[in-house]
């Protein structure tokens, strides 16, 4: 199932604002959308992994937040909080990034008159993220061979070293790749001055309407009638 890039942008904006500002129950309403869409893209494993980590963190946080858990416990609980609040945002962004093609995005943004000076750098980002993950995986391999693991005596003694070992080669390789990508783009004539055509057909379909209506409904419930769900829940229980 394919959504128009504009719908995805709308979804990302609504989802992020709801997830960041409303209680957890509402955010579940929101990140269910990208989760279902990812199932259509056959990303079963990702969705499963996401929900296991998310549910563990959210459940743990809800149960432990009012308890006195000591100093280390507080650290664990606050990590759970960060995970349960940030992960819904990552799944939304992951969906948008992985499912959007560069040319569709450029065409859709041109239709709503976003200047190319802004959209071209954004397309580089769409291309950049998968590359970064690919590089990070290769670096992870190299670290494993050297016997540097995330949890070991050595890394516990010096936790920043792990960050350094990961980041230094990553930064070196992604600056190089970023440069090569820009060269690839400019030698192929990508430029803000010329008008592009787009071969891919973009446009609104039924699925876009469904996502749009759903997002609007969540916004209404969240911001306009915030008591509605509470009433419903109390009547049910």
């Amino acid at each position: 199932m394919k959504l128009d890039p504009r719908t995805k942008l709308f979804l990302a904006i609504v989802a992020n604002s709801v997830i960041l500002s409303a209680p957890v129950a509402y955010s579940a309403l929101m990140f269910a959308v990208p989760a279902i869409l990812l199932l259509f893209e056959k990303k079963w494993k990702f969705v499963l992994a996401f929900f296991s980590v998310y549910l563990a963190a959210a459940f743990g946080f809800e149960h432990l937040k009012t308890m006195d858990v000591g100093r280390i416990g507080t650290l664990v609980v606050s990590t759970m909080m960060i995970i349960s609040h940030m992960m819904p945002i990552t799944i939304v962004l992951y969906y948008v990034m992985m499912s959007t093609k560069v040319n569709e995005f450029l065409a859709a943004m041109a239709r709503i008159h976003v200047p190319t000076k802004l959209t071209i750098p954004l397309t580089v980002m769409i291309r950049f993220f998968p590359t970064v993950f690919d590089e990070a995986r290769a670096i992870g391999h190299a670290m494993r061979m050297r016997g540097i693991r995330l949890f070991s005596l050595r890394t516990l003694k010096n936790p920043f070293s792990i960050l350094e070992y990961r980041l230094v080669p990553l930064l070196v390789s992604i600056t190089k790749i970023g440069d090569e990508l820009s060269i690839a783009a400019v030698t192929r004539g990508l430029s803000p001055e010329t008008k592009r055509t787009c071969v891919a057909t973009i446009g609104f379909h039924v699925q876009d309407a469904v996502v749009f209506v759903y997002c609007m409904a969540v916004v209404l419930i969240c911001y306009v009638f915030p008591d509605l769900v509470g009433d419903l829940l109390s009547r049910l229980t």
Partner: protein
């Protein structure tokens, strides 16, 4: 379309005193195929960037003289204008795609030119048929082999129909079969009357197509030959200029110096056995299926085979980087150490010495310095690894492998993109390593390199070992299988 470079000088800094290109004059005529050859760092890539407009429009620096495409001066054109006339293909297949899927990549250039939709679809259809890409459509570029990517790169540049093609070491990451495909592509362009400029030190695949070979040294054209003239001067002459072998078939027949003799680097003659090297993403299609792999100790074994034959997977399983949990655990204890193709991935620390100490148990600075001395790196012990040259970085990575105490070291294409001299240097390092008691397995597409230092050959096919034989006496067979694979 003619290309003329008139009194061109260029420096990447603000002053022409440290110019990479100085007072260069070069005329390339319409319909010609010209190779710019030369050792790494001679300025040949800079010349290609002058032609495709990256200089002066992308790289900053100081430029003198004029570069003309037909009648137009590149300095007065924009990069988008230049891209209508000049199509560029680069060395690294990984980062020359702006899209993640092949379909979008093929139309990308045409879309940027703003051509009407129907015309684009028509052109792309033509290109797909011409390059026989049907089976590659709709694929994710992260799941494609280097040869496949390079083919898509050529096709997507060809789709815009430029008059001039500039290729910067396009064969560096390819197996010989993909190189043969590349030959065919360049031949087709030449036949269609296009001008083709190829920056390369591997000339063998263009020897029947190229009109001229311009040898670049210190930023100017030092020699100019036709391929036949260069070949007549003999392989030693080309090697002395840092160029790779001109004729691979001949290489197999009368073998380069150093290829004779049974190479034994160490005193131990027993075999090392690896059992159960299996791996599959999907149970029906095993990527790797080797019940027993036996390697001669203290020798250098070359692993050859197509892109996608399972060579890299073999390396990863042997090094404990993929496979089941128990495979990984076993490999961590007895496994091999991998020197990656992109060594930047495996250098983490702030100094070369620290890099070698990192995997050492127990850490011993004196021993680490000895390892570095063995690799001619002692003077760089306190430098940052990222500040070193490519070859030096590779040696640092080897040092980290030696210090990890593992007996088997696996190399993933250690000589891709290297000129003759650099290749000899790598070969010498590997021979030294084998003599010091390590057993080496080298994944490679480089026949010259194999003839130079390997003693055993393993050919892989569909995740299995198709054959295993000693190099001695089989040189001709080796070259033949590599060419026809």
């Amino acid at each position: 379309m003619n290309i003329s470079l008139k009194n061109v000088s260029f420096s990447y800094t603000d002053s022409l005193d440290d110019a990479v290109i100085s007072d260069l004059n070069l005329e390339i005529y319409s319909g010609e195929c010209v190779i710019l050859a030369g050792e790494s760092g001679c300025g040949k890539t800079t010349i290609s960037k002058l032609i495709n407009g990256l200089i002066p429009h992308y790289h900053s620096g100081t430029m003198g003289g004029d570069v003309l495409l037909g009648e137009k001066n590149t300095a007065d054109m924009t990069l988008a204008d230049i891209s209508r006339y000049v199509g560029s293909v680069f060395q690294n297949p990984r980062s020359q795609f702006f899209n993640i899927d092949t379909d979008s990549e093929l139309v990308f250039g045409c879309e940027n030119l703003g051509k009407p939709r129907e015309e684009i679809l028509q052109r792309v259809d033509g290109v797909i048929r011409e390059f026989r890409l049907e089976h590659l459509m709709g694929r994710n570029i992260f799941h494609m082999s280097g040869g496949e990517k390079q083919k898509i790169a050529c096709a997507s540049v060809a789709a815009t129909g430029p008059e001039i093609f500039v290729l910067d070491e396009p064969s560096a990451n390819l197996d010989l079969k993909s190189v043969a495909d590349l030959t065919e592509i360049v031949a087709r362009w030449k036949k269609a009357g296009k001008t083709v400029v190829v920056v390369e030190h591997r000339i063998h695949y263009l020897r029947e197509i190229a009109d001229r070979i311009c040898y670049v040294k210190d930023g100017h054209i030092a020699h100019e030959w036709t391929p036949a003239e260069l070949e007549a001067k003999g392989p030693e002459y080309a090697a002395s200029l840092g160029l790779r072998c001109m004729n691979l078939k001949q290489l197999g027949e009368n073998c380069h110096p150093g290829a004779e003799g049974d190479r034994v680097y160490g005193s131990n003659q027993d075999d090392i056995k690896f059992n159960n090297l299996h791996f599959a993403y999907n149970r029906k299609f095993p990527v790797l299926d080797i019940p027993v792999l036996s390697l001669h100790r203290n020798q250098i074994t070359a692993v050859i085979g197509h892109n996608g034959a399972g060579k890299s997977t073999l390396a990863q399983v042997m090094c404990g980087l993929c496979g089941t949990w128990s495979q990984k655990r076993k490999a961590r204890k007895y496994g091999a150490y991998l020197i990656m193709q992109d060594v930047n991935h495996q250098l983490f620390t702030e100094s070369v010495l620290e890099e070698v100490l990192l995997g050492m148990r127990p850490q011993n600075e004196k021993a680490a310095l000895e390892i570095l001395a063995g690799l001619n790196l002692e003077q760089y012990a306190y430098e940052h690894p990222m500040a070193l040259s490519g070859g030096q970085k590779q040696r640092v990575a080897i040092g980290s492998g030696v210090s990890s105490g593992r007996d088997i070291v696996v190399f993933d294409e250690p000589t891709s993109g290297l000129d003759y001299r650099q290749m000899l240097a790598v070969s010498a390092t590997l021979q030294k390593l084998a003599a010091s008691g390590k057993t080496l397995l080298v994944i490679t597409h480089d026949p010259e390199f194999i003839l130079n230092c390997c003693s055993n050959i393993i050919r892989m096919e569909h995740g299995k070992i198709a054959e295993q034989y000693p190099l001695q006496g089989n040189q001709g067979k080796l070259i033949e299988t590599m060419l026809n694979a």
